[in-house]
């Protein structure tokens, strides 16, 4: 059995090895952008079914972001929404035959978590100023500085590992079941994977939102309860 931790390059563009997750990501990207373009062309004041669903999704996202950040969701909508939709579609793409979800590989999850990490710093600096943002690391006392720094790293890693572990384990278990029992048996597990995938996409987006919200609001009210979320 192949190790789930190793990715093999499919082909090379010059010196750059292009692996299977990258190809899958491209396909998902193409799908999403195509769908967005089609939807954008048919946007009207009186929504059809597709537009109603899209508005429902964006509205729910706005509500969730507003709940967590406690302010206008507009600056975070694009990032959080994109992460949620991409992770959701990527997780569910595992249900298609022959496709391995990009999120089942550490690299994609690392890229997502990196995005969240950078966005956290960006929004923290933007709303509190550079000095203000750096000061939040000395909360509640300066002794906590190393711990706060480590927390930034570990929570990002936990973000990576959580998504990776959930999706990868699903794929891995299905592979094992397939090799042991054969066709049709892993279908309940695949259904469970769909649920897990949706929940994990939601959790990833919400945690990213929580991190950003904590960075934004820490300057305002010291000591957010969300900071220690793993």
């Amino acid at each position: 059995m192949n190790s789930p931790l190793v990715v093999e390059p499919v082909f090379h563009i010059g010196p750059v090895p292009v692996t299977q997750p990258v190809v899958a990501t491209w396909a998902i990207m193409a799908l999403m952008v195509l769908g967005a373009l089609l939807l954008k062309r048919s946007l009207t004041q009186r929504p059809g079914k597709v537009q109603a669903v899209a508005e429902l999704i964006t509205g729910a996202l706005d509500d969730q972001i507003r709940d967590v950040v406690q302010s206008d969701p507009a600056p975070y909508r694009v990032l959080i929404g994109t992460i949620f939709l991409f992770v959701l579609i990527a997780n569910w793409s595992g249900a298609l035959p022959g496709v391995e979800p990009p999120t089942a590989h550490l690299e994609t999850d690392a890229a997502l978590a990196l995005l969240v990490f950078v966005a956290t710093i960006y929004h923290g600096v933007r709303s509190n100023g550079l000095v203000g943002y750096l000061k939040t690391f000395a909360e509640p006392t300066w002794i906590m500085i190393p711990l706060n720094l480590v927390e930034q790293i570990t929570r990002t890693f936990s973000l990576i590992i959580r998504l990776f572990g959930n999706v990868m384990s699903g794929v891995f278990v299905i592979g094992i079941m397939l090799s042991l029992a054969g066709l049709l048996v892993p279908i309940p597990l695949m259904a469970l994977d769909l649920l897990t995938g949706a929940v994990q996409a939601y959790i990833f987006a919400i945690l990213g939102c929580v991190f950003i919200g904590a960075a934004v609001s820490e300057g305002r009210d010291a000591g957010s309860p969300e900071r220690s979320a793993s």
Binding site: T25, W26, M29, V33, L43, T82, E107, A111, L112
Partner: protein, 246 residues
């Protein structure tokens, strides 16, 4: 375990590109559509609110108009009522005054009538009394002699003014002497002599009798009438009784 850094880099780039594309083609148009719809809804609501405000203003105007009308009507009614009350009061007052006046008139008339009646009655009584006195005196009066009256007649003649006395019982216009009973010649001569003495000149007399005098004499001639008889006395008394003031 081997981390593929190239894959991480590529995925990061992919995600950033996806972020931009979705932001450009999905989230922003969606937000715009929602905002547009909200704006349209707000505009509609504003329009509706404006229309409602206008309607409410119209209702308020109408109510104010109605109130004004009611107030005007009430004022008119009030004025009419006041006027009617004034009229009625005036009428009542006039009626009162009229009644008072009529009653006063009536009372006056009654008093007057009563006075007249009383006077009438008194007069009747007086007349009755005079009649009674005349009847009573008829008998004894007839027995009285002429000589009882002549001095009195003489005094009355003497009291007359000079000119009247001279004009009385001249030969041109003789005086008329009425007595209760026809006089005998002796009596006639005594009367003629007494009168001539009182007048200072020869009296020319005609004699006549009238039982109505009861007893006594009446000398009438020219401007003067001299009564020396009971009838005249009775009449005087009666007149005095009739008009006790004068």
């Amino acid at each position: 375990m081997r981390i593929d850094w190239w894959t991480i880099g590529l995925q990061t780039i992919n995600l950033v590109v996806l972020l931009w594309l979705l932001g450009r083609f999905f989230f922003r148009p969606m937000a715009k559509v929602v905002a547009d719809r909200q704006a349209a809804a707000n505009a509609l609501l504003d329009d509706a609110k404006a229309a409602q405000d206008k309607a409410e203003a119209a209702i308020r105007d109408a109510e104010a108009e109605r109130d004004r009308t009611i107030a005007a009507r009430e004022a008119a009614l009030d004025a009419a009522r006041k006027e009617a009350e004034g009229q009625r009061a005036k009428l009542v007052e006039a009626a009162h005054a009229e009644v008072q006046r009529q009653r006063a008139d009536a009372e006056m008339a009654i008093t007057h009538a009563r006075g007249q009646a009383e006077a009438q009655m008194a007069r009747h009584a007086n007349e009755l009394a005079a009649d009674m006195a005349a009847r009573l005196l008829e008998g004894p009066g007839a027995k009285l002699p002429l000589s009882a009256f002549l001095p009195e007649l003489g005094q009355a003649l003497s009291a007359l003014p000079e000119t009247t006395r001279e004009a009385l019982a001249t030969s041109a216009e003789s005086a008329h002497l009425l007595s209760a009973r026809p006089l005998g010649d002796q009596d006639k001569a005594a009367a003629h002599e007494a009168i001539s003495r009182a007048l200072g000149h020869e009296a020319s007399l005609t004699f006549d009798a009238d039982p109505a005098l009861i007893a006594g004499l009446r000398l009438s001639g020219g401007m003067a009438v001299l009564d020396v008889n009971l009838r005249a006395d009775l009449d005087r008394v009666t007149a005095k009784l009739d008009n006790p003031d004068g």
